[in-house]
C-alpha cells in the first residue's frame, strides 16, 4: 500500500470546475440564467448563434425619474401621472412594436420582395442571424395600477439597462416619467422558469436532473436552427 495516493496526502480529486455563462444578467435583475459546465460550454456558443428571443417581465413606477433609470438611483425629477390610462399606454407600446419590427426586418437581411420572405414572416420566423442592436419583437402590458405597471417584453440582443431605458422613454412619451423597479427574465430561448433551479436546489442531484431534462430540448432546437 503506497501512501502517496492516500486521499489525506493527495488532497481532493476535483479542485476546479469550468463554468460558462449564457446571456448576461446584471446584478439588479433576476430570473433564468443559463450556465454551462465543462463540455457544455461549447453548446453555449451554439445557443448564442441561434438568436432565440428572451422574455422579460419588467415592472415600473410612474412619477419619478432617476439618473440610472431604476428606483435605487439618484432622483432627478418628480411628475404627475394621473392622466395616464391604459389606452394611452397601449398606444405607445404599439408604436414601439412597430418601429422595432421595421428594424427587425432590416437587420435580418432578407429581401422583402420574395415569396419565401412572405412565408417566413407569416410564420414569424424572421430573425437577425448576426450582430444587431437590441430589438423588441413583442411588447404588451400585463397590468396597470397607477402608479405601478408591468410589461412583458420579448426581445433580442438586449441588455437589462436597455430595458430600463425603454421604461424611462415610455414614461417620457406619456408626458410623465417612469423608473424601472423590477427586471425578471422568464424565458431564455428554450429554458423557462419551470426548469430553473432555486437557491435551495443548488445540489448535485437537482443539477444533474435539470441537465438531463433540458438536453433533449436543446438538441432539438439546435438541429432546427443550424
Amino acid at each position: 500500500p503506497v501512501l502517496a495516493d492516500h486521499p489525506l496526502v493527495r488532497g481532493p480529486r476535483f479542485r476546479r470546475l469550468k463554468i460558462g455563462a449564457g446571456h448576461r444578467l446584471d446584478a439588479k435583475s433576476s430570473g433564468v440564467f443559463v450556465l454551462g459546465i465543462g463540455h457544455g460550454n461549447k453548446l453555449l456558443t451554439d445557443l448564442y448563434n441561434c438568436h432565440l428571443t428572451k422574455v422579460y417581465t419588467v415592472g415600473g413606477l410612474f412619477g419619478k425619474a432617476t439618473d440610472d433609470f431604476s428606483d435605487t438611483g439618484k432622483l432627478v425629477e418628480k411628475t404627475t401621472f394621473d392622466h395616464i390610462t391604459r389606452e394611452k399606454l397601449e398606444r405607445i407600446l404599439a408604436v414601439i412594436q412597430g418601429t422595432n419590427h421595421k428594424a427587425l426586418l432590416m437587420h435580418s437581411n432578407i429581401d422583402m420582395k420574395t415569396q419565401e420572405a412572405y412565408e417566413l414572416a407569416v410564420k414569424g420566423l424572421i430573425r437577425p442571424m448576426g450582430k444587431s442592436p437590441p430589438i423588441i419583437t413583442a411588447i404588451r402590458c400585463l397590468q396597470l395600477v397607477l402608479p405601478e405597471f408591468q410589461l412583458e417584453i420579448h426581445c433580442l440582443h438586449e441588455t437589462q439597462q436597455y430595458l430600463r431605458k425603454m421604461v424611462h422613454e415610455i414614461g417620457l412619451e406619456l408626458k410623465s416619467s417612469a423608473v424601472c423597479t423590477q427586471v425578471r427574465r422568464i424565458r431564455d430561448g428554450v429554458f423557462t422558469l419551470d426548469d430553473a433551479l432555486l437557491r435551495t436546489q443548488w445540489n448535485l442531484q437537482s443539477i444533474q436532473n435539470a441537465i438531463w431534462d433540458c438536453q433533449l430540448k436543446v438538441k432539438r432546437e439546435l438541429e432546427k436552427t443550424l
Binding site: 503506497v2 501512501l3 502517496a4 492516500h6 489525506l8 496526502v9 493527495r10 488532497g11 481532493p12 433576476s30 425578471r184 422558469l193 430553473a196 432555486l198 437557491r199 435551495t200
Partner: protein, 416 residues
Amino acid sequence: MALWARQVSRWRCLLQTARAAGFPRRLRSCSSTAQACRGFAPLALLPSRNDILPWRLQAYRHVCVGSCSPPDSAKDGSFSSPESNLSSPVKQEQAKAEIVHDLNAKILYEDWDDIPPSSALEEISEEEAIQIIAEPLLPLQSSTLRDYVDHSETLAKLVHLGVDLSQVEKRQKAGQLLLTLDFEKDIRKILLFLKDVGVEDNQLGPFLTKNPYILAEDLEALETRVAYLKSKKFGKAEIAQMVSRAPYLLLFSVERLDNRLGFFKNELGLSVKKTKDLVIRLPRLLTGKLEPVKENLQVCQIELGFQRNEIQQIVFKTPKILTASKKRLKQTFDYLHNIMGIPHHMLTRFPQVFNSKLLRIRERHMFLTFLGRAQYDPAQPSYISLDQLVSLPDEVFCTEIAKASIQDFEKFLKTL
C-alpha cells in the same frame, strides 16, 4: 577496510536498494551505488579517479540524517535549514568534504588491498546490469509532502492518525517542521499530553491538521498553560472541549491568555462566571484578533443603537456576533429594523436572527407579507416569533408558520 564496509552498508540502508545482498564483491557494490547516485552529482560522470568515491560517500554520511527522512537538511545534520535549493550547497559541501577528508582518504587507501574501486564507466556483464536496481531518488525540494510520505515513518504514522497532509503542506513552514521531527522522540510525547488533556483519539487528526505547530512546542510550557487554565477554575471536560474546538489555544503563553480573559471581562462587563461560560462556548474568542471584537462592540452601541445591558444580553446568548462581519451585521439590522419594523427590545430577546443569512430572512418575510401573515408583535394575534422565522427548516416553516405548501413557496420565490 572496515571503515569502508561500514560506509557502504549505511549507504545501502539509506537507499533501500534490494540487491545489496546479491553482490559478492564489495567493490561491485561501490560502482552500482555510484550509478545509483547519478542524481546527486556531476561527479558521478567524472572519470574514475580513485580518490573521488570515498569523498562522495563521506559527504553523504554528513548529508544523511539519523532518521529516515530524506537528505534535505544540509551541513552536518543540522535540523533547522530550510528546504531551499540544495544542489549548490551539496556541491559546496562535497568540495569542502574533499578538502577536509583528503587526509582521511589517503589514510583509507593505506588500509586497502591493492584492488582499486572500479569506475562508473567500466563495462559490466549483462546479468549484473539486470541485477542493478536503481531507485529514483527523493527530490531535494518539493512543494508537496506526497514525495516524502512513503520514505518517512513520521509522515506515515501521521497519515494513519488522520492528519490531512494536503492541508498541512499549504501552511507556512509546517511541512518542513513535520519532516524534521521524529515520531518516537518528539511527537509521541505531545500526543500523549493531548490525550491527557482530554482530546479524543479520533479528534487528534483534525486537531493536528489545523494546528501542526503544536508539535514544535515545549512540553513544560504546554503543561504550565493547562495548569493556569485549571487554576482559573475551568473544569477538565471544559478544558478538553475548548482545546478541541480552538486548536491554537495552547500555543498562547500564559500572559497572553490572561490578557485576553481580562479584556473580555472588562469590555463586556459580565461577571466572571458568565465570561467563563462564554469562553467555553466560543473558545475562538481567545484565539482570534481583538480589534474586530472591539469594533463590533462599538458598531452595536453607536450605529445599531443598542444599550449596554442589551449588548450584554445579546453577546451572552450569541457570542458569534462579536466575530461577525460589520457589513453583514449592519445590513441585517437595517432590514430587520427598518423594513420589517422590529423594535430593539424584540431583537434583544431573539439575537439568533443576526447569525442567519439575510437572504433567508428576506425571502421568508416577503412570503409572509404576500400571504398577509407577517405579524411580529406578540401583543397581536397570529404572532410569528423571530427565532421560528429563522431557525426552522423550509418544510416545517411552510406547513406550520406560513400554512402553505412548499410548491407555493418555491413558485413565489421564482417570482422575486
